[in-house]
Amino acid sequence: MGLVNMSGKKALVARFRDELVKRFVGNEDIIPILVLNLLHRKSTMLVRAPRGTGKSTLMLLVLKGLFGDDFVVISGASEVKRGEVVGRLHIPSLEKRGREKVLWARFVRAQGKGIDEVNRLNPYTTANIHHLMQFGEVWAYGQKYSVDDYTLVANENPNDLTTFIQPPPFYDRFDIALYLNSLTVSQKFTLQELNNNYGYDLIRSMPHVMDPEDLSEIRREVEETEVEPSIIGLINTLVRDFQACIRGKEHSTLPLPVLCEGCHFTRFVCSRVKEPPSERATIVLLQLAKAMKWLEGKISEDDVIGMARWALIHRIGFLNPEKPLKEMNELLERERERMFERESRKQWFILNELYTNFSPGLYRTAKEIAAEDNVFAEELFSLEEKWVKEGKITREETLKVGLGIE
């Protein structure tokens, strides 16, 4: 199976998706993004749902389809031991030769990794897994083990009372977070039929669809896939929209919405975001865009906004966190309209003209646009700095001074 051509590899991905869909009932909307997220190196995903909605089933189906029986799942429990997750000392080596030899746990060595109920992991284990995802290595007894490519699927029930509060940077290391809903009546019937057909063992029935070599080759091809500059621009602008704050939210101790009081940009998404997403959101979205381009041959701006929901939802601290999915959808809808407005204002065209040649008329227009778009304003600020140095404008004329920022 290792030597298959380009279309053959896509067929493998399509087969994996079909086998997954055949066995996983309901929540069809998450399958495309789940599959795309598996197509880049060191893929990680978090499945969030209440108990009994299929989190573990989904995790096992994915791991079984990609790795057959060669994967390791650890269950999140406060008493999970270091030896099971990272490694343990080889006692005979210590006794006979006085050498500290570490037997690395199968979890760190396996390409297919699963964590059931990640919310129950004790802080020590979380820190080890966090380090693994951050630096691609684990440490035990002063020794290091570098982890190669892997796929990590974790799940958690946020309503679980026996939960440790995991730090936000830990969640940030998950490429995407998928939310599952419970099954409708007709879907329950479908599940019962499936259980009958597969002898109440859906996981065992899942075929091993691709070899690690195929997966690795696919990931290499996806990495080398190029996406259009307009898509990259959209990704960067979208993430920046969720990060930018003209009042310096990142370094302010004033909480929202107090900080936003009287701000010109309160209708933008920034006023509903307490904790902005990290740069990882940009990286993940680009990887997803590449995967889609590789698999489907094209990617649209609507696709990017659709994918952003799953890449941003666990990276953002919302002002109204009660219904994160609803809030995320609403903010992305605002973003969709904001992108439309940007197109209507021809603002990137105007910025490009200003980069090429300073024109007082266009600069005036750009200043007016900047009053409607804080992200555009940031770019204009940096151009203004250049023009002030070149003597084309005075500091008093700049937008920064005009807005009272400087």
């Binding site: 500059p229 307009s230 990259i232 209708r267 407005e341 021809k346 065209f349 490009n352």
Partner: protein, 104 residues
Amino acid sequence: MENKSFRKFLEVKSASTKVERQKGRIAWEEEAIKGRQSFSSFIEFAYSDKPSGDYIYLDRGTAFDVLDRINWMDKKIKSLSRRMKILFMLLVVISLVAAWGWLT
């Protein structure tokens, strides 16, 4: 620091932007699309009963007009409040006088 990929993005966006250059001026045509997102004029928003988009734009003239009206309303509110205070005091005085007359 020169950012090549950002410039590339701006150039690609510019290449796909349809504008006309006429004697040092840049002009473009806006197509009026029937739909939610195209409805953003303040005048339409104020006088039409059709659903508008979430964002409404004001041209400078309309903005000044709105500002004038807000200022006029502020003045009017202040003068009316003053008038109300005077009327209230008059009412109190008349009531006191009436009460005095009734008692004596």
